[in-house]
Symmetry: D2
Subunit: 132 residues, 4 copies
């Protein structure tokens, strides 16, 4: 994706390890999009009544990953205290959505896959926090 080249061209780029940083951006993009899609798949399932909490946490996780990705993408004059608090919240959102998706993984392949992408995004958040 072109976004990584544009991020690397910042006049005063982040000192975070590039691989850790790129993985965070990639996982947030995939997790946000996957959660939006999983919520929509759930909404169309015959057993939607069982998937209410999954839909809700998918929507939360999508919004949070999108905001975290936007904020981290901005390399100009960041406030690291805020960045840290936001990535921590994002890690919790991913863990929460992963746990709920796992409960439906046996019946819904989209939930199984969404749990996996949430877990990868949570790890990317935690690795970024360790690098901040």
């Amino acid at each position: 994706m072109t976004v990584h080249e544009i991020i690397a061209l910042h006049p005063n780029p982040t000192t975070i390890d590039p691989a850790t940083f790129s993985r965070f951006v990639d996982e947030c993009l995939d997790c946000a999009a996957s959660c939006t899609s999983c919520a929509d798949d759930c909404l169309a399932e015959p057993d939607v009544q069982e998937l209410i909490r999954c839909i809700r946490l998918d929507l939360d996780c999508a919004d949070t990953c999108e905001t975290a990705r936007r904020v981290l993408t901005r390399q100009t004059a960041p406030d690291l205290n805020f960045v840290r608090a936001l990535v921590e919240a994002c890690s919790v959102a991913c863990a929460s959505c992963r746990d709920e998706c796992e409960r439906h993984a046996a019946h819904h392949e989209h939930c199984r896959l969404c749990a996996e992408v949430c877990q990868r995004c949570k790890e990317a958040c935690d690795d970024l926090l360790a690098a901040l």
Copy 2:
């Protein structure tokens, strides 16, 4: 605003004190919109070079307040650990943006007003955290 009536009609509404909850929603809406507008006012100022960090933190604060407001508005089956982490991040975003806006308050009335709305939103976050 109609949103408060729709929130109150949830089949299984939040047990948070309604005044604290409504104020949080109102302040997040005003703070997100105000920060979007302050960033844009700054962008058009002749001394935009001095306002770079203000623009950046305005954009962060707008995104975070919007996500926090969306998540809190959802009363169906929330994960309170995540809600708490997100409102904490929102409080830090507001404090950070307030501090930077205050540095420009003497020269730019929009920054002075934006610092005020950030401070009110930070207080609304902190009061909500105490009520969770």
Copy 3:
């Protein structure tokens, strides 16, 4: 709300009639927040199966009103062709969500109220288009 004062302090403000402009911002804020809340109320209703399309169009309308409000709030060097296309899309989103909410108005007061706010936002979009 403070946002209106901050909008008015732009160094090079829009020439759109201030009342038309302010009403657009207010209605977009209320409509976006109301649709987020109506989707969540629907998700918790015992007859959620009947409300699938309502939830979906609520989510679409919330996202679109938020983007339209952000774009219009930016008064610095706009592209009016794009502004026009986006406000037209927002008007269609509001009409679409209003029609679906009205179908459930007799059974769900939150849908009745959401249809009303969508109608008001659609009118605010159309009035803004006439003023552009």
Copy 4:
């Protein structure tokens, strides 16, 4: 990315040609993220005064691509009139941002790359419109 697998698992998937649909999702994700990053790169450039309109249109394009990608990802009971209006607005946003980025392409490599991703996203919008 996992999102494409989750989209394909929808109980009642879109009848749009899968390659056209996937490309639209991919280009919207890259364009939204690239525009967020280009705005931030511009903000840190010594000649930020020359890049004001570029920053503004980057922010517009990022918001619009994100909303368009969210809406199209939802395959449950769509309103095609609205989908069409939104993708048209997204195409205009991309063209507008591309034109402005191209004006700075000779001096700023991130603007040159951003113009390219905007052009690709515009083409993906137009191809999707032809397939709707």
